[in-house]
């Protein structure tokens, strides 16, 4: 996908940002108040308590000293891992429910990281549950594990769907391992991942017809069902009702598409009541452009200017078929947005000053955030060639208005200049108080990894490093 092959790229050459790089806000936006980690910690504690509570019925219902044989011990371990797996599955779905309160307290990036870590644990718990239970039951009946599988599938109700659920879960788990995931087309991976809702459905039955702690009517069973209902309600709210309300309220449409560089475009959106849109610079939405080719795809892009009452803007690098199609968007096209999400914002700072490191098109959230950071921030902008520098007029204007120092570091990663600068010593020379600043990083994975390593060695605590990654 090169510039010369796409006619759309040249369509609007010469048009620069039509607002001359000025923010449309009448006055510079205020620095947002800080959002502490309180909400996140509370939720983490709640989830942990839930985990303990889900194993508690087993603990109370199992007489002490009853696990005298191998079979009984294995079966008991199978039950514990089963309860843990059932609970973690619900947590996993809840994480991805896009419930506004979760997005606000934990943030999309953190949620994605939790989802990945809990996902790995869930996979192990399910495998342990299946194998421990199978081996335990087989031992109990003095038959082989395979024969036991046959017995379970034949004689027990809901077990066929439970085995299917476990199979899907294993498939989803393994295709999410990074190396395997990269080899798959995104759409296939996404489809596979969507099938995990089936796990919720197919795995439901066997928990209640065979779960030793759940088949009996009582508070445990009721609570477990209530948990399911709660998660489904969260899904409905976060995925259907909240987005519907958002889009009916703000009614976003494409106003203009502007070329920022040969392979980058800015899309300006207008809508209604934008003055009441609560959005922070650096946050992202999941965008769905309602044209014939694009409506079925939803992609996360950062907003590249802070909230103002008149327009929203996203700046997108053309890297694939979908982003190429965005070049041809006609003004007036309806846009379906879900969000805003993300904790890559000025509100999540823990220090008074910030250092921002952007790579290539990673400047977009940072550009939006610059408008809201307290004065005295520093920006290092890495780009391969001068032509890759985006939004430079706006950055220069912001540098003046918000008292920000900006260094453009141009060149390949292996050139001596960038290499020297992106080392711990280089960073300390450029920004002597780097260890006492928040550091916001957005750019290609290589740059981010390298920078985090250098920053950690330069003495920046982990909690002061903010990453903008919507990918796992």
């Amino acid at each position: 996908m090169t510039y010369s092959h796409t006619h759309a790229a040249g369509r609007r050459t010469g048009t620069t940002s039509r607002h001359g790089g000025r923010s449309a806000a009448p006055a510079p936006p205020q620095t947002p108040p800080r959002r502490g980690p309180g909400g996140r910690r509370l939720l983490a504690a709640l989830l942990l308590v839930g985990l303990l509570a889900s194993v508690l019925p087993w603990w109370l219902g199992t007489p002490a000293g009853s696990l005298r044989t191998t079979a009984a011990t294995l079966t008991a371990a199978g039950r514990i891992t089963g309860l843990v797996a059932g609970y973690l599955l619900l947590v996993q779905v809840l994480m991805m429910s896009r419930l506004p309160v979760l997005e606000r307290w934990i943030g999309g990036e953190q949620l994605a990281r939790w989802h990945r870590d809990i996902g790995a644990t869930l996979l192990v718990a399910v495998l342990a549950h299946v194998s421990l239970t199978l081996v335990g039951y087989a031992d109990l009946r003095n038959q082989s594990v395979l024969a036991e599988v046959g017995t379970l599938l034949g004689d027990y109700e809901d077990m066929v769907s439970a085995f299917v659920a476990a199979g899907i879960m294993v498939l989803v788990g393994f295709t999410s391992i990074r190396a395997i995931r990269r080899a798959l087309p995104y759409e296939l991976w996404h489809l596979l991942h969507l099938s995990s809702y089936l796990v919720l459905l197919l795995g439901f039955g066997h928990q209640f017809s065979h779960g030793a702690q759940l088949y009996r009517p009582g508070p445990v069973r009721t609570g477990w069902i209530a948990l399911y209902l709660l998660v489904v309600a969260a899904l409905l709210w976060g995925r259907v009702i909240a987005p519907l309300a958002f889009n009916l309220r703000y009614r976003l449409r494409v106003a203009d598409v502007v070329a920022e560089s040969p392979d980058t475009i800015s899309i300006y959106l207008t809508g209604e009541r934008l003055d009441r849109l609560a959005m922070l610079g650096g946050q992202y939405f999941r965008w769905r452009f309602l044209t014939r080719g694009c409506w079925w795809q939803s992609h996360p892009f950062s907003v590249s200017a802070a909230a103002n009452a008149r327009w929203l803007r996203l700046t997108v690098k053309v890297v694939g078929a979908h982003t190429a199609a965005l070049r041809d968007l006609e003004p007036g096209t309806w846009v379906w947005a879900e969000g805003p999400s993300g904790t890559f914002t000025a509100a999540h700072r823990v220090r008074d000053r910030a250092l921002l490191i952007a790579g290539g098109s990673g400047i977009t959230p940072i550009r939006a955030m610059l408008e809201e950071l307290p004065p005295g921030a520093a920006l290092i902008y890495r780009a391969r060639t001068p032509a890759d520098v985006l939004l430079s007029r706006e950055l220069d204007w912001l540098a003046q208005a918000r008292d920000t120092s900006i260094w453009y570091v141009i060149g390949s990663r292996d050139d001596p200049g960038p290499r020297q600068l992106m080392s711990p010593d280089g960073l300390r020379q450029l920004v002597p108080d780097v260890a006492r600043r928040d550091v916001y990083l957005c750019g290609p994975p290589g740059l981010v990894e390298q920078s985090v390593r250098a920053l950690r060695r330069a003495g920046v605590p982990r909690r002061q490093i903010h990453l903008a990654t919507f990918e796992l």
Binding site: V55, W58, W59, L60, G61, T62, P63, A64, G65, S66, L67, R68, T69, A71, A72, T73, T75, A76, A77, I80, T81, V84, R116, D117, I118, G119, A120, T121, V124, A125, A128, G136, Y137, L140, R141, T151, D155, Y156, E157, S209, H210, A212, Y215, R216, P217, G218
Partner: protein, 200 residues
């Protein structure tokens, strides 16, 4: 990924710890948990008014106890639990008994005992309490005992027996098999079928 690794290690360690803790009978803390957990089972029996007539004639909740411990100790508890838990149970039952005696006599209540069934794990025999055309309670007079059978017999008992168990819910011998206790479930159903045939 570091956290995922920690979480998985934590899962393995705590599962092992839980199983080991429950596996050792000597722990005092565990022994204290037991009586606290037990009343969960008898409460629905005592609370349900439909038991009342049966309880009046012959304390239904207590009935299986002696016969079970006389025939073969089937419950997982009797071997360890002393007189204390069963004592609390009878005292808990006491207030309900006078209340039922004041009630008007209900339609005839019969007890029917099914045939005993042998399987490779032990002996199974079921008794049902029938009031009018309904089974109001199911009692297992004997279930296999010893080793893991204790657990599975416990599962079968918890699931099928009582005034709110599956037998009363389904009013038939078409019960779902209890996981890990296929043989005992089948024997239970066989004995129950016999009892139902005699009763109706």
């Amino acid at each position: 990924m570091r956290r995922a690794f920690l979480a998985i290690t934590g899962l393995a360690a705590s599962t092992t710890a839980l199983v080991v803790l429950k596996g050792s009978p000597g722990t005092t803390q565990v022994a204290q948990d037991l009586p606290a957990a037990q009343p969960v089972n008898p409460t629905p029996q005592g609370a349900d008014p439909s038991v009342a007539p049966a309880a009046a004639g012959d304390p239904a909740g207590a009935a299986p106890k002696p016969s079970v411990s006389a025939g073969a100790p089937a419950s997982p508890k009797p071997s360890r639990s002393t007189a204390r838990p069963s004592g609390t149970r009878t005292t808990a039952k006491a207030p309900t008994t006078p209340r039922t005696t004041t009630k008007a006599p209900q339609p005839t209540t019969r007890r029917v005992t099914g045939p005993g069934v042998d399987n490779e794990y032990g002996y199974v025999q079921v008794q049902i309490v029938v009031s009018g055309n309904r089974i109001v309670e199911a009692i297992s007079l004997s279930l296999p005992s010893g080793g893991e059978s204790d657990i599975h017999s416990g599962d079968v008992r918890d699931r099928y027996n009582g005034t709110g168990g599956e037998v009363v819910q389904k009013q038939s011998a078409n019960l779902n098999t209890v996981s890990g206790a296929t043989e005992t479930s089948n024997s239970y159903k066989q004995s129950l079928r016999g009892a139902i045939e005699q009763a109706f």
